[in-house]
């Protein structure tokens, strides 16, 4: 499987280039850097984690979901299933490509934050968190695409996810939601993601929060892949 996984991954990365997704992601990262210039160095510590969170979590959900719909439309999901690669390698290649995309953005933004705006951060902790967050949100993206009838349904699902789970985390980050609700907030994958990113930027996050967030995101991704995406992927790809 590993041999074909590498070939599939090479194909995914080539298509990221051909479909201009890598270039767009790079441009968005530059846009975030421009925004940091505009809002000023003092606010950078508050906003840089938020921008990285948006790229690693929300953009990953949208990218993976849209990619799945687009490939279904081109019938390439189906034709990949009749190769010796197996659907596990196909899924893995798509997840790794999504994680790579998120990592590219976070590397650009974090390096700019560190060198241009003196934002202090633990690079290893940040990139580890981004890998986990993108992995969990790639699984969420697959799940949303599988349950959605069409692309509009996917957009609606992502919209609902943002309203009910992402926005409360952002409000919490700005102190609009009291801290006593933190334990409940951790039920949200977006909040668990924010906590891991905040911790890598040296913000006060309890060790138990980091551990629970890490375990929760890992368990969420594994659970979705094993019990939902795995059994449904083939049926979804073949459905016309």
């Amino acid at each position: 499987m590993s041999d074909n996984l590498l070939k599939l991954l090479k194909g995914e990365l080539k298509r990221l280039m051909k479909y201009n997704i890598l270039q767009i992601s790079f441009a968005v990262a530059l846009l975030w850097i421009a925004v940091i210039f505009l809002i000023g160095r003092e606010q950078a510590t508050t906003f840089v984690p938020l921008f990285i969170f948006m790229d690693a979590a929300l953009m990953t959900v949208l990218y993976v979901g849209a990619n799945l719909f687009y490939e279904k439309q081109e019938n390439t999901l189906k034709t990949l299933l009749i190769t010796p690669s197996g659907y596990v390698a196909v899924l893995a290649s798509k997840i790794i490509a999504a994680v790579y995309l998120a990592l590219q953005s976070s590397v650009i933004i974090s390096l700019a934050a560190f060198f241009l705006f003196d934002v202090q951060l633990d690079f290893l902790a940040l990139y580890s968190a981004v890998v986990l967050i993108a992995f969990a949100h790639a699984a969420l993206g697959f799940s949303f695409a599988i349950v959605s009838r069409d692309f509009n349904g996917l957009i609606a699902a992502v919209g609902l996810y943002m309203i009910f789970l992402a926005f409360p985390s952002i409000f919490f980050a700005f102190g609009l939601i009291p801290e006593r609700f933190e334990a409940v907030m951790l039920l949200s994958p977006t909040h668990a993601s924010m906590m891991l990113i905040d911790a890598s930027f040296g913000k006060t996050v309890a060790l138990w929060t980091v551990l629970v967030s890490t375990a929760y995101l890992a368990a969420l991704a594994a659970g979705l892949l094993l019990f939902f995406i795995g059994p449904k992927y083939r049926e979804n790809a073949v459905r016309e």
Partner: protein, 289 residues
């Protein structure tokens, strides 16, 4: 009959969320070196059957043996053996034709020469154009190349000449015949009776999930045709039709007299067309091209 590649027994399949079975206990064999056609109207169960044989659907009932071994016992290596030509284009539209074929080809151990295949279907000159710029006919020809990339032993072809003009359909049909001549086996699903007549060694008609008849096109024509000879003659400024039974034709005095005296315009046996058989057996009109 030769060696069965696929032996299908009491195959049943029901789609999730459906109360009606799409395939209702069908039996057939596909023999090595033949082109086997599964024919039927839309929704009869032919594409479902093909998806089961290509292991895209795995939750079927009944047994399918591939070279004498349960199909479910095969791993992904099964796909080294088969090539599938889908009914719709299956390519990454922003990649070129060549980039698409290279990507898929690399996933197999055995690899045909891509440029030779592209040349055979008339796409070599367009290999570096994005597939998005291809016409539907070009995409369907690329589909056929995709199916042959791993030099398969068995080809599954679903409406393979769909959307092709007669010239390009001819190229594809000749390549299928060539594949058979080299020992390959093909499983064809279609509703185009001209393709069937030209390509298939044996056909099975499927109606509402059940196989209603299996035979060679010739056997079907004899079985469903009328055993008679129709002769059109031109007499006294008008065309006249004479019908004679095939039995005892050599001793039929009227027929022999007609041969000697009349100006014969046409002469046809009463064999029926596959299209008429399709309508008779399935109850639905097929397409003749």
């Amino acid at each position: 009959m030769g060696v069965p590649i696929f032996s299908v027994r009491d195959l049943r399949f029901t789609y999730r969320k459906s109360r009606v079975a799409a395939v209702k206990g069908i039996d057939f064999d596909v023999v090595e070196g033949e082109i086997f056609g599964l024919l039927g109207p839309s929704g009869a169960g032919k594409s479902t059957t093909q998806k089961i044989l290509t292991r895209l659907f795995k939750t079927y009932e009944g047994t399918i043996e591939y070279f004498g071994k349960d199909l479910k016992a095969y791993g992904n290596a099964f796909y080294e053996d088969i090539g599938v030509g889908f009914e719709l284009p299956v390519h990454f539209s922003k990649l070129t034709g060549l980039e698409n074929m290279r990507f898929f080809s690399e996933l197999y151990k055995k690899r045909a020469d891509i440029e030779t295949l592209l040349d055979a279907v008339g796409l070599l000159e367009d290999k570096d154009r994005p597939v998005a710029d291809y016409s539907k006919g070009m995409k369907m020809r690329l589909n056929f190349v995709r199916a042959l990339l791993n030099e398969p032993r068995v080809l599954f072809l679903d409406e393979v000449t769909n959307g092709l003009d007669p010239g390009n359909a001819r190229i594809i049909k000749d390549l299928i015949k060539d594949f058979r001549a080299r020992g390959g086996t093909a499983f064809l699903t279609t509703h185009l009776m001209n393709d069937v007549e030209e390509l298939c060694d044996r056909v099975a008609f499927i109606r509402e999930g059940e196989i209603v008849e299996t035979a060679s096109p010739r056997e079907l024509k004899i079985k469903h045709g009328r055993r008679e000879l129709r002769v059109e003659t031109f007499e006294n400024g008008e065309t006249k039709m004479h019908v004679f039974p095939l039995e005892g034709l050599g001793e039929n005095k009227d027929f022999l007299a007609l041969l000697k005296t009349a100006s014969i315009e046409t002469m046809h046996s009463g064999e029926t067309s596959l299209d008429e058989i399709f309508i008779k057996v399935t109850g639905v009109a097929g397409d003749v091209r």
